[in-house]
C-alpha cells in the first residue's frame, strides 16, 4: 500500500508537484496519466528517493520513506528509455539488483531466470544489451526492475520510446506480467490508451496536481473537467446555457435531470458528448424522445480502416465528429441528420484554470 500525502516537489524555485495526495492499494495497478511536464516522472523519482520532497510524506506498507536513501526503499523503478547498463549483458543487468541485495550466486541466478522467463526473454542471458531490439530492451528493463522483488513497482513511460506496432503488442502482454507479479504498480504515461487498457485506477495529473481519479470506466463516463475530457480524447468541448432545471443546447432544450452532470453551475457551462452519444440518424427514422436532432454538413472524411470518421459543421457553428460504419456513407458536402442521446450529454465542472 502506497500512501502519498501533501507532497510538494520543486527544482530550485520551480514547483513541479504541489500538495499532492495519492494512494495505491496492494496489488493495484495505478496509472498516473498526464501530459509531458506535468510532474509525473518527478513524482516517481520522489517515491524512489531520487528527489527530496519539499514537504509531504510518502508511506509504503506503513513505513515512512522520509530520510531513506534510494537503495533502502525497496521500490523498483523502470526508467523512461530504460537506462540499461550498456557495459553489461542481459543477465548481468537483471542480476544487478539481487546481487547488490546480497543474495548468493545460486539465488541470483534463480531470480534472473525467473524474471527473464516472466517477460518472455528466457535464453537471452548472454546477449549484450546493445544487440537487443527496442522491445527486448523494454522487457529487460522490466525484468531488471522486478528481479529484486520490490514492494512497489513503478514504470515511467515504459512504452514511450517504442514504435506504435510494438506498443500495441507489448500492451497486450503487460497486463499478464503485472497480474502474475501481484505487486502494487504505479504506471506513468501520457497515453490514454495505455492507461485505459492497463489500469485498475487512473489518476489524471495536470501541472503538479491530481485533477481526477477513478476507474477507467468512471473517468470515461464522467470526466470532471474539460482537461480530463480532452486528455481522454473526448471532444469537442462546447458551451451551453443551463439553469437549475433546464439545459439549453443549440439543438433544443432538455431537462437538467436527464443529462449527465459532473457538477456544473448555472449560466454558461461547458459540456462534452460522451462516447457513443452521437450517431448518424438514418433519414427514414423518426427522432426518439430522448434524443436531440442535429443537422450538419460533412466537411471531411477520414479513412480509419474498419470505419470512416466524418468531420461535420453544424448550423449552429459547432464542429463534431462521428464514426460511420457501414452501409451508405455520406460524401463531403452532404447534409446529414445526427442524433444526440440526451444521457450522453455531459456537463463539466467549472474549471477555474480555463
Amino acid at each position: 500500500m502506497l500512501t502519498i500525502e501533501h507532497l510538494t516537489l520543486a527544482y530550485g524555485d520551480t514547483v513541479v508537484v504541489e500538495d499532492l495526495a495519492l494512494s495505491a492499494a496492494d496489488g493495484e495497478v495505478l496509472c498516473v496519466l498526464g501530459p509531458s511536464g506535468c510532474g509525473k516522472s518527478t513524482l516517481l523519482r520522489a517515491v524512489a528517493g531520487l528527489e527530496p520532497p519539499v514537504t509531504g510524506t510518502i508511506h509504503l506498507d506503513g513505513r515512512d520513506l522520509a530520510g531513506l536513501r534510494p537503495d533502502q526503499r525497496d521500490v523498483g523503478l523502470m526508467f523512461q528509455e530504460h537506462a540499461l547498463f550498456p557495459h553489461r549483458t542481459v543477465a548481468e543487468n537483471v542480476a544487478f539488483g539481487p546481487r547488490v541485495h546480497g543474495l548468493d550466486r545460486a539465488a541470483v541466478r534463480q531470480r534472473v531466470t525467473e524474471a527473464l522467463a516472466l517477460v518472455g526473454l528466457a535464453g537471452t542471458e548472454f546477449r549484450h544489451v546493445d544487440e537487443l531490439s527496442g522491445g527486448e530492451r523494454q522487457r529487460v528493463a522490466l525484468a531488471r526492475a522486478i528481479a529484486p522483488r520490490p514492494r512497489l513497482l513503478m514504470l515511467d513511460e515504459p512504452l514511450g520510446s517504442l514504435d506504435r506496432a510494438l506498443q500495441t503488442r507489448l500492451l497486450e502482454d503487460l497486463p499478464r506480467v503485472l497480474s502474475e507479479l501481484g505487486t502494487t504498480v504505479v504506471y506513468v504515461t501520457h497515453d490514454q490508451d495505455e492507461a485505459l487498457s492497463l489500469a485498475d485506477r487512473i489518476a489524471v495529473m495536470r501541472a503538479g496536481r491530481i485533477e481526477q481519479q477513478g476507474t477507467p470506466a468512471e473517468l470515461w463516463r464522467g470526466p470532471r473537467t474539460a482537461f480530463v475530457a480532452g486528455f481522454l480524447g473526448l471532444d469537442p468541448v462546447f458551451e451551453l446555457q443551463a439553469d437549475a432545471t433546464t439545459v439549453t443546447t443549440p439543438w433544443g432544450r432538455v431537462p437538467r435531470a436527464e443529462v449527465s452532470d459532473a457538477g456544473a453551475g448555472t449560466g454558461t457551462v461547458t459540456a462534452v458528448l460522451l462516447p457513443d452519444a452521437l450517431r448518424l440518424a438514418p433519414s427514414h427514422q423518426p427522432p426518439a424522445d430522448d434524443e436531440l436532432t442535429v443537422i450538419a454538413t460533412v466537411v471531411t472524411r477520414r479513412f480509419q480502416g474498419d470505419h470512416l470518421r466524418l468531420g461535420l459543421h453544424t448550423d449552429s457553428g459547432h464542429r463534431l465528429q462521428v464514426a460511420a460504419w457501414r452501409g451508405e456513407v455520406p460524401d463531403v458536402g452532404d447534409t446529414v441528420r445526427l442524433a444526440i442521446e440526451v444521457t450522453g450529454l455531459h456537463l463539466l465542472a467549472d474549471d477555474p484554470d480555463r
Binding site: 527530496p52 534510494p70 537503495d71 550498456p86 557495459h87 527496442g134
Partner: protein, 580 residues
C-alpha cells in the same frame, strides 16, 4: 583520438534509430587531393622531427659512423642511467595515480554538480595546464620554500618553535607540481564524458539497491573507463617526459631522463650519453602511445545526453560535503600556488613593493640576463605568434587531409601527429642542435625557436580541429547543396562558420603553448634572444632576493598571458582544451 568515441544524441532518438541510420558518405574528394594537402605537414614533420630524431638515434648507436652497440650497452648498464630511468618511471606512475585519485572526484564535482561560479572555476582549474612548466616550478618553489605561507601559518599556529617545512628539491614537491599541472587533463577528459553519461544509469543502480560507492564502482567507473584510461595515459606521458618542473624542483637523484638529456648536453658535453637517453625515452614514449591508442580504440559507443541535463545543485548533506571537499582541494592544490606566485612577485629585500615589476618592465640595472627583461617578453610574443601561424598551417592541412582522406590516410595522419606530442621537447631541441646544419644551416638562426615551438603545438592544433571537422554532418552540406549552394558556397556557409571558432581555439591554444614552451626553446634560443621561460630559468639559477622576485614577476606575467589566451578561447566553448 577522441577520448571516448561516443556520439552525443539529444536523448530522444532511440538507440536503434541512431545505430541503424546509414551514415551519409563524403564524396568528391579524390585520394590525390588528400595526399596533396599532406605535402606541407609531411615535409615539416620530416625535416623538423624525423630528421633530428634520426640524427639522435644515429649519434647514439653509431657515434663514429659505424654502428657500435657498445656505447648503447654501456649506457644502459650504467647504474646512474638505470637509476634515472627508474626514478623517471616511478615518479610518473605515482604522479599519474595521485592525479587520478585527486581529480576524479573533482571531475564529478565540476561536471555533475551545479553551483554558483562553476564555469569560472572550471576555467580556472584549466589554467595550470597551459602554464609554462617553468612557471609551475617557480610557483611551487615559492609555495614550498622556508619562507612560504605554509610556514608562516605554522609559525602563527605553533609559535616560533614550529618546524620549518622546506620541500624544495624533494620528490614531494615534484609530485605535487605534477598533480597541479595535470589536474585539468583528468577533470576535463573524465568530466567531459561524465557530464554526458545518462544520470538515470546511476539512478537505476541506486533504486536497485546499490549504495553510492557501489554505484560508482560498478556503473560509473566502467562507463568512464575509456576517458580515465585516455587521461591516465596522457598524464603518464606528460609526467614521464617532465622537464621544467623537475629541473627547477628536483635535485641530485631526482632527475628525469629529460633533465639528464639536458645535463648531458649542456654540462657534461656527453652527446652519446644524451643520444642514448633520448633513444630510451623515445622507446618508452612510443610504447605508452601504443597503449594509449589501443585503449582509446576500445572505447565503446555509449548513449550520451546533453551535459546541461545531467548537472544539478547538491541537495543532500552528503552532496554538499562532497562539493565542499573538492572546492577545498582545488583551492589548496590549484589556486594557492598561483596566489603565492603573484604574492612573491611583490616581495623585495625591503618588504612588499613594485621593484620586481619595475625592473622587469621599465629598466633593468645589473640584470643577469644578457638583455633587458622587457626584451624577453617581446621575443616571446613574436616567437609565439610566428609559431602559432606555422602550427595552424601545418596542423590545419593535416587535419583537413585526415578528414577528407579515407582509410589509411586518416589513421596514419592521426597517429603520426600524436608522436611529437609524446616525444620530449628536450629531444626535439637537442635534435635541432645536432641535425639542422643540413640542408640549410639553421642552427644559429632565430627561426629555430618558432619552428621548435610550432612542432610542439601542432598536435594540439590537430586535436582541436579534427573532431570538429569530423563532426560536421554531411547532411548539412547535402541540405545546402539541394537548396542551390555551389560547392564553394557550401564550404563558406556550412564548413567555415563551424570550424571558424575551432580555428580560433587552436590558435589561442598553440599561442599559449608556444609562449610557455621551455624544453626545446632552452636548447635552441640564442643567448641574446631569450624567451620568457628561458629568462625565468636563468633568473632562478642566480642567488638573491632581487633575482628571485624578478623571476616571480616574470612568471606571473607569463602565467597571465597564457591564462588570458586560455580564457579567451574558453569563452568560445568549443571545449576541447586539455581534453583527450
Amino acid at each position: 583520438m577522441d577520448g571516448h568515441g561516443a556520439e552525443v544524441t539529444d536523448g530522444t532518438a532511440s538507440t536503434e534509430q541512431r545505430t541503424r541510420r546509414p551514415r551519409p558518405t563524403r564524396r568528391g574528394v579524390p585520394r590525390g587531393a588528400a595526399l596533396a594537402l599532406l605535402a606541407v605537414p609531411v615535409v615539416f614533420l620530416g625535416w623538423f622531427f624525423v630528421w633530428p630524431v634520426t640524427a639522435i638515434v644515429g649519434l647514439g648507436l653509431a657515434p663514429d659512423g659505424e654502428v657500435e652497440l657498445r656505447v648503447l650497452t654501456r649506457a644502459l648498464t650504467d647504474p646512474s642511467v638505470r637509476s634515472v630511468a627508474w626514478f623517471t618511471l616511478w615518479q610518473a606512475v605515482v604522479s599519474t595515480a595521485l592525479t587520478l585519485v585527486v581529480a576524479i572526484p573533482g571531475a564529478y564535482a565540476l561536471s555533475r554538480q551545479e553551483f554558483p561560479g562553476r564555469r569560472a572555476l572550471q576555467a580556472a582549474v584549466t589554467v595550470p595546464f597551459v602554464l609554462p612548466t617553468v612557471v609551475v616550478g617557480s610557483a611551487f618553489l615559492a609555495l614550498l620554500g622556508p619562507r612560504s605561507p605554509v610556514n608562516a601559518a605554522l609559525v602563527a599556529v605553533l609559535g616560533e618553535a614550529a618546524p620549518t617545512l622546506d620541500l624544495r628539491r624533494t620528490v614531494t614537491a615534484i609530485l605535487l607540481a605534477h598533480v597541479f599541472f595535470n589536474y585539468a587533463v583528468v577533470v576535463r577528459t573524465v568530466g567531459g564524458l561524465w557530464s554526458m553519461l545518462d544520470p538515470r544509469l546511476e539512478d537505476a543502480a541506486r533504486v536497485l539497491g546499490a549504495s553510492r560507492w557501489r554505484t560508482f564502482r560498478e556503473v560509473s567507473l566502467p562507463l568512464l573507463s575509456p576517458a580515465i584510461a585516455a587521461s591516465a595515459a596522457i598524464v603518464f606521458l606528460f609526467t614521464f617526459t617532465s622537464f621544467g618542473v623537475v629541473l627547477i624542483l628536483g635535485g641530485p637523484g631526482r632527475a628525469t631522463i629529460e633533465v639528464e638529456i639536458h645535463r648531458a648536453t649542456t654540462q657534461l658535453l656527453d652527446l652519446p650519453l644524451a643520444s642514448t637517453l633520448a633513444l630510451l625515452q623515445l622507446v618508452a614514449v612510443l610504447s605508452a602511445l601504443a597503449v594509449y591508442g589501443r585503449l582509446t580504440r576500445r572505447a565503446q559507443q555509449q548513449r550520451l545526453v546533453a551535459a546541461a541535463r545531467t548537472r544539478r545543485p547538491p541537495r543532500t548533506r552528503g552532496e554538499r560535503w562532497f562539493l565542499g571537499a573538492n572546492l577545498a582541494v582545488i583551492a589548496v592544490l590549484v589556486l594557492s600556488p598561483l596566489a603565492v606566485l603573484v604574492e612573491r612577485s611583490f616581495v623585495t629585500a625591503t618588504g612588499y613593493g613594485l621593484d620586481n615589476w619595475r625592473r622587469l618592465l621599465v629598466d633593468d640595472p645589473g640584470s643577469v640576463l644578457a638583455v633587458p627583461a622587457g626584451e624577453a617578453v617581446r621575443n616571446s610574443l613574436l616567437f609565439g605568434v610566428s609559431a602559432t601561424l606555422v602550427a595552424l598551417v601545418v596542423g590545419g592541412l593535416a587535419a583537413t587531409a585526415a578528414t577528407v582522406g579515407r582509410g589509411w590516410v586518416t589513421g596514419t595522419v592521426d597517429r603520426a601527429l600524436m608522436v611529437p606530442l609524446g616525444t620530449s621537447a628536450v629531444t626535439v631541441g637537442f635534435g635541432f642542435l645536432i641535425a639542422l646544419d643540413r640542408p640549410l644551416d639553421l642552427r644559429g638562426s632565430p627561426l629555430l625557436v618558432p619552428l621548435a615551438q610550432a612542432l610542439i603545438a601542432t598536435p594540439f592544433v590537430v586535436r582541436t580541429l579534427l573532431p570538429v571537422l569530423r563532426s560536421i554532418d554531411q547532411r548539412l552540406r547535402d541540405a545546402a547543396a539541394v537548396l542551390g549552394a555551389s560547392p564553394f558556397r557550401v564550404w563558406r556557409e556550412v564548413d567555415l562558420p563551424i570550424i571558424g571558432r575551432a580555428v580560433l581555439v587552436a590558435a589561442g591554444f598553440s599561442f599559449a603553448i608556444a609562449v610557455g614552451e621551455f624544453g626545446a626553446t632552452v636548447f635552441v634560443a640564442r643567448a641574446n634572444l631569450p624567451t620568457m621561460p628561458v629568462a625565468i630559468f636563468r633568473l632562478l639559477g642566480r642567488p638573491g632576493v632581487a633575482n628571485f622576485g624578478q623571476a616571480m614577476a616574470m612568471s606571473t606575467l607569463l602565467a597571465a598571458i597564457t591564462a588570458a589566451a586560455l580564457l579567451a578561447i574558453d569563452r568560445l566553448r568549443v571545449g576541447s582544451i586539455g581534453r583527450f
